[in-house]
Symmetry: C2
Subunit: 362 residues, 2 copies
């Protein structure tokens, strides 16, 4: 059984390994390069599980995260986040230590990179294929040409290819829509490849999001995938159809600290400080911050029927549950919560405890 | 000016001190005991500012937080969070080191406390005056009597009084409603005082929330206040009318990493990993995750007219702003974000940098 005293991220190592293997197999079968995003687990220890599977190139979302993984021997890192000019010294150090790729979407940062970097870095041009977060709009080839013009003359900044994150898959209403978004993304990136391949025969098309990498069978059409969340999955991915409940590899073990039989509620130690505040909607408009599960020998159960985390305060969580469940559980028992967004939850809780009781602290 | 390289919590020490002084004065004038909640800042360093003002009793929201502040010399601590039986050993240790009060709302935990604690602790019965998070419903005197019956015979568990958190003030539509909730809370607690004062002449009525402690002029009617958020305030409190924009003592300095002139957006390094995900609504239903400010010599500006943090990804934030603002700012500039919920933001960012450049790391 689970031995904890406060909210603790419990990891099903077997599922996690299966998730890694499955994505790696798919990449291999699709003949695309696998560069998993490590922002979800942020753990050198879990990183080693990838390494033992023969994975040597990774994606991160900040210079600090790149530095962290560089210290643990990772030598091929893409920072898939717009260049932060205020960390130029870290970027320059990193460029000396590892094969570093960075991304940009305008010429604005180019003179600063030329002046600030002492070593060569790879440059991906970030393309907006529909997510509208960052990136050059895919058809704005005038803007791309301006960047290319600079890169073609640069010694320090070596053009690598086009990179996109189709985050709009997170707003899709069905797996079919997600597959359509992937197709659309491939078409837009292939259009760019068609335009620039003659001058840059080795250019790489790199895509990222877990929903499409999970739902699309053949990922060919791009050259590289960078999913991150798949390592754990979560209720958000489940709601999108990107995973089953049995693929979710993390749950948060929380002490029960109260029961309310008049409202059929269970109060847990586990709040916004542990889960962050992403939520899903029930069909009646109520918010769901997580599903409740019970711990069994070396496993956790399927979600308890009719039970869900309905509210989060800073440290409290409120589970609504059928009366018989509230009656059966006791203050001092431990209950598990399948999180809505495992990346944010893992960032807050830092360490992991495996179902076998192993503590992963880095 | 502000020197940062990644999202950093900037503290206006003067405002923070003013907020402390103002609340302390109000408590004094109302003749109520001031036991500030330290869950907002979670900092021993900032705790010392309170101590220098003559404040010696505090509130925290977990056994770990109590332990932390105990290590920094705090000797009178109330854990205003339901007893976590899984941390009994920490509670017992703490009860030896400090004057410890804990809260409970049922008899369920009593035998465990009797068996697990080696030293006396103070017990507040948590009362639900309308928030419906935890606590005995105020009029359920049968349930209260059952707890009292036990406490009256206990040597280890010393009844201290009734404690409530009127968190429903956070859903109030006007300052008047908040004042009405306070009045209502006082009436309900006074009703209980009336019933139990003869047997327990020293019983304390303790209330907590920042909105009512800020908006009610005379806090008499209760014996103790435990506000926490007032030390920094935030946009949530501002939206409730509990503070002015000039009372907000923290802002998050974020590097600008992108600009989009076609959508009039600024992209910052600063996302859910730094702010958590509480939001307010604009009148048109759009979400606001923060207001944008500019840093000036030793200060930050009033919010930029028409600019707001409109979306948060894990590490990215998107600011919508008038075109002339997007044109004027540059990648590599630093912009400030007034957070919606300073408690969650401070929990994520940990340290502080004062406007004077002092770094507060604990």
């Amino acid at each position: 059984m689970i031995t904890i005293s406060k909210p603790t991220l419990i990891l099903n190592k077997e599922r996690c390994m299966d998730n890694i293997t499955r994505m790696q197999e798919k990449a291999k079968n699709s003949n695309v390069h696998f560069r998993p995003h490590f922002k979800t687990h942020q753990s050198a220890f879990i990183g080693n599980w990838f390494r033992r599977q023969g994975i040597h190139s990774i994606t991160v979302s900040s210079a600090s995260m790149a530095k962290y993984f560089s210290a643990y021997g990772w030598r091929d890192i893409t920072i898939a986040f717009p260049v932060n000019l205020l960390e130029m010294n870290i970027l320059s150090e990193l460029a000396n230590e590892v094969n570093l790729n960075i991304i940009l979407d305008s010429t604005e940062v180019l003179p600063y990179l030329e002046a600030g970097l002492n070593y060569q870095v790879g440059i991906f041009i970030e393309i907006d294929t529909g997510d509208h977060r960052s990136g050059v709009i895919w058809k704005d080839t005038a803007a791309i040409d301006k960047i290319m013009e600079h890169l073609s003359l640069s010694v320090k900044l070596k053009f690598k290819g086009f990179l996109t994150h189709s985050g709009h898959t997170y707003h899709a209403d069905s797996p079919e829509t997600i597959r359509d978004i992937f197709k659309d993304t491939v078409q837009k990136l292939q259009y760019l490849k068609g335009l620039y391949q003659e001058a840059w025969p080795d250019l790489v098309l790199s895509v990222g999001d877990t929903p499409s990498c999970s739902l699309v069978e053949d990922l060919g059409g791009v050259d590289e995938i960078r999913p991150g969340n798949f390592v754990f999955y979560d209720l958000m991915q489940y709601s999108l159809g990107a995973c089953t409940l049995n693929d979710i590899a993390v749950t948060v073990a929380c002490p029960i600290v109260g029961r309310n039989l008049s409202r059929n509620e269970i109060i847990i130690y586990g709040g916004a400080n542990h889960f962050s505040k992403d939520f899903l909607f029930r069909s009646n408009g109520e918010r769901i911050y997580g599903y409740a599960v019970l711990f069994e020998e070396g496993a956790w159960s399927h979600p308890i029927n009719g039970a869900f985390l309905s509210d989060l305060k800073q440290e409290h969580g409120i589970i609504k549950a059928p009366r018989e469940v509230v009656e059966e559980l006791r203050i001092g028992d431990v209950i598990g919560i399948l999180p809505v967004h495992s990346c944010l939850t893992a960032h807050l809780l830092k360490g992991y405890q495996t179902l076998e009781g192993e503590n992963i602290m880095y």
